[in-house]
């Protein structure tokens, strides 16, 4: 133990004497932070939404470049040969080295958080969770760094190996590029990288609901870290003359890769692939779920939420008789129906969608390929509940909706800025344009009030999907417009209806958001519908007093 502590102390001392280590370990993360701060200067709460990414890059750099570079360099010099002459175990020496690196990572992370707070970021919501998450992230990446140290024969090889892991993880691994911005195939690939789990766990601690919603992320990080440590132990070498290519024991590498593969496969099997609120799927976040053992033909008359587990599935929703395709819903969700084509009748009313308004509509820009619809989703039990939006009662809302599992307003998904927060001038100008344009916006004039509300919600959902600067404020503009246009009682009923039927109605309004200077609309209409459903519940909560914004 005495030797272990001395080695830990000396390793730390040497780390802090190494100018290059300080440059890469401390200065670079701070430069990254300042760069993010400048890039996202429009954000009123600077950096809070990016701390997961920033801390992950810090841990990744220190663990996957710093650790193996130091170990390989010492091995090349013969330091580890000298250690081997001493009566001390390999595990003890490696543990001392890794512990020293962990301390260095924590200090670098603390410095980063401190600087972020100095420029205005509020304190992390769950500081203890953040430390726990950072420890798990460090463990995962240090395990990976040890594997690299055993594979690389020299320091240049560490750099080459590191880049092979670092760059893909940054670009398609969910670290530097948000998962929501990645194509679907890349989101699947990212499930096999530990980076996305690191970002999720850290971000959940900084702006989210803490690690309670990131248990899978922690499991993934432990799996990756443990498999890396075990593989590195099997491949350990003291001497630079023991070349990796000429040594036995390379099968241990399969264990490290197996850890990554296991994490990815588990994520795939659990459906934790896509972007968005990964910890709490949209339908589970806003709609109460049935008891696990509840039979599918459970009584339609639900019990009060305060006395018994609420029943989710509302009664079957009336399917428009003219529809030729069978109604379908997302598995496990009470979603209903096939989103019709742009000319399909509104499922909310069963009538054809209202004609486009007479208001002047400029020439439409070319639209992209038809958006994928959830029409081909496998069938699931029909939801129960009111038969029409007009039949919605406060009891339905009380019974079917949950408001405390929504994505945080300060989070990545469906953010809403505090009401007293003034947007930056450029953002304010864009918002004012939308505010002025909405009364004359065609989709805001359709006769069907449900479709009209749905269209307005898309105006908030599209900037969220695109992550454009106005996203955090757009919900306020939409909220104002909805209150101006729809009587409160009806608005409450319609928002409930949309929350339970996110795939209802049509999404042709997405092709007209360009008139509000919001681009051509996302190609993934399903994701936009999901975000609109989130906003429906968030605004409903504000309207009914269920949600009191801080």
């Amino acid at each position: 133990m005495n030797g272990w502590l001395h080695q830990l102390e000396i390793t730390l001392r040497l780390h802090f004497r190494n100018k290059m280590a300080l440059l890469y370990g401390y200065l670079f993360p701070l430069i990254f932070l300042v760069a993010f701060w400048v890039l996202y200067r429009h954000e009123r709460v600077p950096l809070a939404r990016h701390m997961g990414e920033l801390l992950t890059v810090t841990a990744l750099g220190g663990a996957c470049f710093g650790l193996p570079t130091a170990m390989v360099s010492e091995r090349e010099r013969g330091v580890w040969r000298r250690y081997r002459l001493a009566p001390v175990s390999t595990h003890s020496l490696v543990a001392g080295t890794v512990a020293a690196r962990y301390i260095a990572l924590v200090t670098a992370g603390l410095l980063q958080v401190a600087l972020a707070m100095a420029v205005g970021m509020p304190a992390p919501r769950h500081p203890f969770d953040l430390w726990v998450a950072f420890t798990f992230v460090s463990f995962a990446f240090l395990g990976l760094g040890l594997v690299m140290a055993m594979m690389a024969d020299n320091v240049p090889a560490v750099q080459a190996l590191g880049q092979c892991i670092f760059l893909p993880m940054l670009i398609i691994g969910g670290i530097a590029v948000p998962l929501a911005s990645l194509p679907e195939w890349a989101q699947h690939v990212s499930a096999f990288f530990p980076g996305r789990y690191a970002v999720e766990a850290l971000q959940a601690s900084v702006t989210g609901n803490g690690l309670g919603s990131a248990r899978f992320d922690l499991l993934a990080l432990v799996l990756v870290g443990a498999s890396g440590c075990a593989a590195a132990g099997g491949m350990f070498r003291w001497d630079s003359q023991q070349r990796f290519a000429a040594r036995g024991g390379k099968a241990w590498l399969a264990l490290a890769l197996g850890g990554w593969a296991a994490v990815g496969l588990i994520a795939e099997s659990r459906g934790r692939i896509g972007a968005g609120d990964r910890a709490v799927p949209a339908d589970q976040a806003i709609v109460r779920q049935p008891p696990a053992a509840a039979p599918t033909n459970a009584p339609a008359n639900p019990l009060p939420a305060t006395s018994a587990p609420p029943v989710t599935a509302p009664p079957a929703v009336t399917t428009p008789p003219v529809m030729t395709t069978p109604p379908t819903v997302t598995p496990g969700a009470p979603r209903v129906t096939t989103p019709p084509s742009r000319t399909a009748p509104s499922p909310e009313t069963g009538k054809p969608a209202a004609p486009e308004p007479a208001a002047p509509v400029p020439d439409l820009p070319p639209t992209s390929e038809p958006r994928p619809t959830p029409a081909d989703k496998p069938a699931a039990p029909e939801p129960r509940g009111p038969s029409s939006w007009q039949a919605v009662t406060p009891a339905d809302i009380e019974r079917d909706l949950v408001f405390d599992r929504l994505p945080s307003d300060q989070g990545v998904v469906t953010p809403i800025a505090p009401a007293d927060e003034d947007p930056d001038p450029e953002v304010a100008e864009d918002l004012e344009f939308v505010r002025q344009s909405l009364p004359n916006w065609g989709p805001g004039k359709v006769a069907d009030p449900v479709q009209r509300v749905r269209n307005y919600l898309y105006v908030a959902a599209v900037p969220d999907v695109f992550q454009i600067p106005v996203e955090r404020h757009m919900a306020h503009v939409v909220y104002e417009r909805l209150q101006e246009d729809i009587p409160k009682d009806q608005l409450i009923q319609i928002l409930y209806w949309i929350a339970l039927h996110p795939n209802g109605g049509d999404d042709s309004a997405l092709d007209q958001v360009w008139a509000l200077r919001l681009g051509n609309g996302p190609s993934d209409a399903e994701q936009t519908r999901e975000r609109a459903a989130f906003y429906a519940v968030k605004l409903l909560g504000r309207l009914t007093g269920k949600i009191v914004p801080r």
Partner: protein, 305 residues
């Protein structure tokens, strides 16, 4: 008293290369034992197997009465070693290095005592990368002694050092001898082995081909003496080919060299020949066989190649 080190039939192979092919030797208490051989002869492999840096393919190793293959950690408590390729981190200081390595052992010397003993006090807090070659080698020796070892292994300790540092290190090893330490020293420097070692073993191609005290090895060998002379006038070397026992005859005008197994008769006839040729002898040197001559005689190769 039992031997400090007993090595029997040690074998180690690296792929196709058999670096140790049945190496056997013993080192007695308070003995400076030299393992002499050219580069690639297997001496470093032998030492690394004995001190636990490499796992031998076969053979028995006993160090300080302990089975080194079964209980390597116990052996490491009792030995110290200065390796040929050891280096430390650039920014570690001698004091820190001695403190760190001392902490790995059950019993250790105080760092300051080691700094004083190995003349490193002035550089105690200097980073390793600012130390000279001699200072680094002295630090390596200090580290080898930090655990009060019963047995010290020095793997080519003077290799690559300047003459001054080499003299200092030899003086240090000589002091170990006076202090009664048991030392295994590997070297390819014959003078060093002859000067420092009580006994040496010559190793070549993974085998011990001779062992004993340096003077005994020379006395036992059939090595010839070397003769070199300088004459006042150029002399045809062929004239000397008929002298008794002459071999390896070379000449360059007035300077001639040869080896002979019968120096006395050879020099007597050489004088007669020079007188007959009316040539004066300017310089004459007859040198006895050296350890290097013994080595060349045994292996057919020079240690200095």
């Amino acid at each position: 008293m039992p031997a400090k080190v007993v090595v029997r039939d040690l074998r180690k192979r690296y792929g196709e290369v058999e670096a140790a092919r049945g190496v056997s030797f013993e080192i007695q208490d308070s003995e400076i034992f030299g393992l002499l051989g050219p580069n690639g002869s297997g001496k470093t492999t032998t030492v690394e197997c004995v001190i636990g840096l490499r796992e031998p393919d076969g053979g028995d190793i006993e160090v300080c009465g302990i089975d080194a293959r079964r209980r390597p950690h116990d052996v490491k408590q009792k030995i110290g070693a200065a390796l040929q390729t050891t280096a430390l981190q650039d920014k570690i200081t001698p004091r820190e290095a001695l403190t760190l390595f001392g902490a790995f052992y059950r019993d250790s010397e105080a760092p300051q005592a080691m700094l004083d003993r190995f003349a490193l006090t002035a550089k105690a807090d200097a980073p390793f990368d600012t130390l000279s070659g001699g200072q680094r080698q002295r630090l390596a020796l200090a580290l080898a002694f930090v655990n009060k070892p019963e047995l010290v292994f020095l793997d080519e300790p003077t290799s690559g050092l300047d003459p001054q540092s080499r003299r200092e290190l030899r003086a240090e090893v000589a002091k170990m001898k006076r202090d009664g330490h048991t030392v295994l020293l590997t070297t390819h420097d014959i003078d060093e082995a002859e000067e420092l070692c009580d006994r040496i073993a010559i190793i070549d191609q993974g085998r011990i081909i001779a062992a004993g005290a340096p003077h005994d090895l020379v006395a036992r060998s059939a090595a010839t003496q070397s003769v070199s002379l300088v004459t006042s006038e150029p002399l045809d070397p062929a004239l000397l080919s008929g002298l008794p026992g002459v071999e390896e005859l070379t000449g360059d005008g007035t300077r001639i060299r040869f080896r002979t197994s019968n120096a006395g008769a050879c020099v007597a006839e050489l004088m007669t020949l020079l007188e007959r040729e009316h040539t004066a002898l300017v310089e004459l040197e007859v040198r006895k066989a050296t350890l290097e001559d013994v080595f060349i005689g045994l292996t057919g190769t020079s240690l200095r190649e």
